[in-house]
Symmetry: C2
Subunit: 782 residues, 2 copies
């Protein structure tokens, strides 16, 4: 980590000592019984790996936690499950669907509100600027324009810098990591949601080259998380029925629905939303989930439609003229011949190259910005202001370079444009002329895309205009991502891609029969494929945006080509950001070199275990000196003939158990007290906050010498692998089942019943290659 | 099994003895060393389960085999993998994409050919009948019509009955089961492909109420299988590069592509095809697969488009007027109010009830037909002829009941219809009149659907007409599925649903502003949701068919309602057929009662194991007397200090090893000879045929006393669970990782190193509830 806050991270590194060596030494020199707790695994050598520290880039360094999708089978939970009535099961099902409905409603509402606000703020800003320009007060106009932008930018940046640093950026990488099992708690907190909504509105309205799509996905996920959690426990906003959803599995499903709803709300693309969640966001997928996300996005679509119908006829201020992108403006029939196909293939290849270059540059810019952003909130805001000024200069200044074009004769639309949105901005031109660069720059991003996509207007934009716009947007898009405002990547990429496509289309004008608007759509597809590397979801989103299924084969072709080309150079932009942020993302496949290793090769010691009936003092001491989140429980004589593995107990469950103080004087197995005292719900995972902390416990001195029976809270069916299991297969097992801990058991008999624990961290390529640098494919030969 | 051919099934029931008790007794009374091979697991009781035999309904009883998606890590395979060059890896990737391309091309070609043939044959038949009717030779016309239908029916049925019984029916359940890991070999054989293609053409052209969609999915899968396998080995059509694909995992991926391509070709719906494969067909899904299936369906779309462009202008006979369904005829703008929404909700509810009733009746009919079909091919053909006659009578006879309607005044289309396809069939009516029932009956199924979907023609069909048509099609669809011809379910369900929807639309005429054509589409959606229980894929397929994204929210709503309603009554139609056919399909979730059991509860003994270096005679004897497909290998002194589990060896690998005859006189561990003699490729799974059989081995008497080292072919990383693992978790592990064998290891030390093997069969609800009837939720109280 860049700022050296290692102690803040509590992602499980079960085998490794996080506490300092001194305290462990003190612990070792304790009683003989205590010593027994800390077993040395019988490995060939003790490994410590110092090279695997991951870099965290970005504003928010927060404790990262692993999620657990395993079904825990302990006595308490089993009792709870057996005692569930039919009514409770029915409640659960109804509640699940109600939540999906509420997520859809909430996200739809926020999506509409976002658009409404952006359209009104940006519209007012543009109209005001325009009115000043009409009075030839050009400096005033620029001051007004840049001033508005800067005020909005400062508002967004201040929110991000002071209230919720986690709300900066797209949010899709974080949601993706969460759905992979990596939880950075403040990512889905209420204040993040608040900042994300308003920061995104200010940022988009402030004229930045950013989108609202990534933030909407994050917003949808936050809404889903909050609904599933039932409000803050602190403010007693919780709802008792929601206890069914207080586990990582159900939360994951809800957040998948939220992510899908976000895309659906951002693009008005319900099917695209489902596919986005499936292709990009989710790491685990079930058929039932397909159905539930589909329901959620359908609700979003209905809500949006209702609001738009309501706003019809100017009831919502400036909204309604351009809000909620739906570019069903392209009515060109794509009939194509071989030269057209060749042009499209070329478009895809170059788009793929530009896309991967985009990723490369974004990566570099992010690394640079992280140095600035880490120096404090003031510098963050300064950076935002600088970019805002640059953007204002570009969008106000560049149109001056363009020549005026006479309005085309036969035109349905008014030319020059009256009001805010339209293809033909007058700018400084004489009547019946328009400035094509101003039509792209001095408008909202959505309108610019709509103008670029429009068909039947081949000559509308000059070649130089498109080139200028493309270069400016490509550059601005890259340098804008990473500043401290909520910023989506979809819109910048679509804008750059559409101008690139239209540029190619205009250039090839005489060689190809395809409409330039269609070229713009294909260009956008090629850029999206080149940066985000999604295929089916982008294809469907574009189809839903343009409402024209007939161009499907061409879009597919372009997407496949650009993705293939870009994959030769680097990874998708979201994967890159996940890696850059140091989130331990588990890939679905195992790396090839893992086949050369076995599970015990990456286990590192020493290991801390508990007895089935353990002394309270021992538990407390271990919880204090280690940061492990799971401990194997070993049954020993007299409770079993020989030491044998009983299961795994979680730190959070131990804390609840200790808080309950059901201790016994003697070392006996008696769980009846505990089974009466606790309900399964007591052990449910709290949504926000960290639950019971070590400091909250108030154990008296005499209680330290008492015993507690761990059996009722021990997961007796933990997943295990034999130590000689191929690491590749162990990694796939870990990933496919969504585990947090994987126990490694010995192969031969004369050994303690457990060798070690594998966690997410142990399976990270950085960790493994740190231990075994000889397998690194990129290693320089010594 | 109904026909008592139990011995033909070799699905693994590893723990159970399939050979008779006598031969086992003989085996047990052998030498002391031999006895050692056959260990009794230390279970509480020996269980045998006689109640779990599954019923097989249908023409084809064939040996069912489990597929194995586990990565096998043995010495030979590891060596092969390590020696792979970069060129070979590149070849592999290129080949994978080439195969996807070829699958797309092949399926597109077959899909087009199918349509071309159907349109021409059916078109000629209808025109001929029509010309006879114009000359008022009504009996001749019926004779010609019914005769043509019957001839086509007999051709289809004869192909199915004599050449490939596996080609009867939809094929989707079998493909679904294959992708779940259940292989009934002849399902994907070349002759099945042949019969499926031609049988489907004859069946659809023969006027049956069947679709070509299910058969197209099956055809696509067959094409994928054949391409991946590289032609028959017998005829030396194999291709050496394809050796990379000679394993179950790669075959599964190819067949998933094939299934998607099938839907894409049948409906001209590339995105719908991908989603169908994801939602209904596939049991395992990877992100990479999404991309590959998408590529395949894109190729299909391009191929189809190319052919259709080629056929433009009557170059392909009667094709081109109605072929390759694309109902972009509905141009009604769906604007709806609350009463409309209520009507749509009601439509969904009733559609869901009708859909589940459809499933119930299809189930009953299938059970009845299976009794007839099992009596031999002649009876199969007789049944087909009977249904064909009934269908001909209905479609020729029922239009006589309808009144003639005067043609509407302002109409783009000619009325009455000239030629074959059109909305206004003249039948017996005077000039300028048409018979609306004839427009639906005396046409191809595709045209009937198009007529029902057409918009702006609210009064075209009378209420009684729609009612008659609905009842007839609903009944005919149910009794037609299950006869010995390739028959899809999509088209009958869409037809019935569309007529139902239009009926409701016409009935509600004055109450609702929605177009009756839109009602027809929604009705079709409700029936599809009610029978097949897919949501996203049906929604996208319908959108791609009608090319109108604006009605998306309504279609979504109807689908969700009808699926929810129907789910209250029974399972989806494909799941039902899978169960009826006795295919051991593994569900993605564990049944609740499995949480009450542990892994060792369903293991049944005795268990047969091998030593690491085993006597050839012993291996042969075990292979002869058991039908197990996997055997645990135990390392024993002197090769290890105590008996310990080495891994698992497969029957097929043992047979290859024995065929190679690399035996040693002494019991020593020496694998060098074997490692030199064999390549990993020798152990690749053959596509068709059964590979080496026990009878092919020619082991001499003196070789029987020699030893062979099993280590090079032993999978040293088999997946294991501890015997006390919750059965629910073991089942999910088994399913998620796509296993064929799951080893159960003991918890305590003083036991042999393995307790038993779990296979797919052991996890079937029928098996478990047979052992533990107390958990059966449907059990009658004694």
């Amino acid at each position: 980590m860049m700022d050296g806050k290692e102690d803040e991270r509590d992602i499980e590194i079960e085998g490794m000592i996080i506490a300092n060596e001194e305290s462990l030494e003190r612990y070792r020199s304790g009683s003989a019984e205590d010593k027994d707790l800390l077993r040395q695994p019988l490995l060939k050598n003790m490994r410590t790996n110092n090279t695997s520290q991951l870099a965290i880039v970005g504003a928010n360094v927060c404790p990262i936690e692993s999620l657990d999708y395993e079904i825990i089978e302990n006595d308490l939970f089993k009792q709870d499950w057996r005692s569930r009535t039919k009514v409770e099961i029915f409640q659960y099902v109804v509640l699940k669907w109600t939540l999906a409905l509420l997520i859809g409603l909430g996200t739809g509402l926020v999506g509409f509100f976002n658009n409404l606000a952006v359209e009104n703020i940006a519209g007012f800003k543009l109209l005001f600027t325009n009115s000043l320009m009409l009075r030839e007060k050009y400096y005033h106009a620029f001051a007004a324009y840049a001033g508005c932008n800067m005020a909005l930018a400062i508002a967004a940046a201040a929110l991000c810098a002071y209230v919720a640093p986690a709300a900066a950026g797209s949010g899709i990488p974080e949601v993706k990591a969460y759905l992979n099992g990596v939880d950075a708690p403040s990512i889905l907190a209420p204040k993040t949601l608040f900042v994300k909504i308003f920061g995104s509105i200010f940022g988009v309205a402030g004229g930045f080259v950013v989108g609202k799509e990534g933030p909407m996905v994050h917003t949808g996920s936050c809404i889903a998380f909050l609904l599933g959690q039932g409000g803050s426990r602190k403010y007693r906003l919780t709802w008792k029925w929601l206890r069914y959803f207080k586990n990582d599995r159900d939360r994951r499903d809800l957040i998948t629905c939220g992510a899908a709803a976000g895309v659906a709300a951002a693009f008005r693309a319900p099917v695209g939303g489902v596919l986005f969640a499936l292709e990009e966001a989710a790491s685990w997928w079930r058929s039932a989930l397909l159905w539930r996300t589909f329901f959620t996005t359908a609700v979003v679509a209905v809500v949006l439609r209702g609001f738009i119908d309501f706003c019809h006829g100017g009831k919502c201020g400036l909204f309604g003229e351009g809000g909620l992108i739906m570019f069903d403006v392209n009515s060109a029939k794509p009939t194509y011949s071989t030269p057209d196909l060749l042009a499209v293939i070329l478009l895809g290849v170059i788009g793929g190259i530009f896309g991967s270059l985009y990723n490369y540059l974004v990566d570099k810019v992010l690394r640079t910005y992280s140095i600035i952003n880490e120096r404090g909130p003031i510098l963050k805001i300064v950076l935002v202001v600088a970019i805002s000024l640059l953007t204002s200069c570009c969008s106000y200044g560049l149109p001056w370079l363009s020549q005026c074009i006479p309005c085309p004769a036969d035109l349905g639309d008014p030319c020059p444009t009256v009001g805010r949105s339209g293809n033909y901005k007058n700018f400084l031109c004489p009547p019946n002329h328009y400035n094509d660069l101003a039509s792209l720059f001095l408008t909202t991003n959505d309108d610019a895309i709509r103008n670029l996509f429009s068909s039947g207007s081949d000559k509308e934009f000059q070649l130089t205009t498109l080139l200028t716009f493309f270069v400016a947007i490509y550059g601005l898009g890259i340098i804008t991502y990473g500043i401290a405002i909520p910023s989506g990547l979809f819109i910048p990429v679509i804008l750059a891609g559409a101008s690139y496509g239209r540029l190619v289309g205009t250039f090839l004008g005489s060689f190809s029969y395809l409409d330039t608007g269609l070229f713009a759509i294909l260009g956008a597809a090629s850029f999206l494929g080149g940066t985000m590397r999604m295929t089916v979801s982008i294809c469907v989103i574009l189809l839903e945006l343009t409402n024209d299924l007939l161009m499907l084969p061409l879009v597919m072709l372009v997407l496949l080509i650009s993705k293939t080309v870009a994959d030769c150079f680097n990874k998708g932009v979201y994967d890159q950001i996940v890696k850059l942020k140091g989130l331990p993302y588990l890939e679905a496949h195992a790396e090839p070199y893992m086949r050369n290793l076995v599970a015990s090769d990456v286990v590192s010691g020493p290991l801390v275990t508990f007895s089935g009936v353990e002394k309270v003092g021992n538990i407390l001491r271990v919880l204090k000196i280690t940061k492990h989140n799971g401990f194997p429980v070993i049954d020993e004589p007299p409770f079993s003939a020989a030491p044998q593995l009983c299961g795994l107990v979680l730190r959070s469950h131990l804390l609840v158990l200790l808080k309950g103080k059901k201790f016994t004087k003697q070392r006996v197995r008696d769980a009846s007290d505990i089974m009466r005292r606790f309900k399964a719900n007591d052990f449910a995972k709290p949504g926000s906050g960290k639950g019971i902390q070590l400091g909250n416990l108030d154990i008296k001195e005499e209680e330290m010498e008492m015993y507690v029976d761990l059996h009722p809270i021990t997961n007796t069916s933990p997943h295990t692998v034999v130590e000689t299991m191929s690491l590749a297969k162990a990694a796939i097992l870990f990933r496919e089942l969504g585990l947090r801990h994987l126990l490694v058991v010995p192969k031969t008999l004369e050994r303690p019943p457990i060798v070690g624990i594998l966690t997410r961290h142990d399976l990270m390529p950085e960790h493994i290659l740190g231990l075994y640098p000889q397998f690194d494919p990129h290693r320089k030969k010594p």
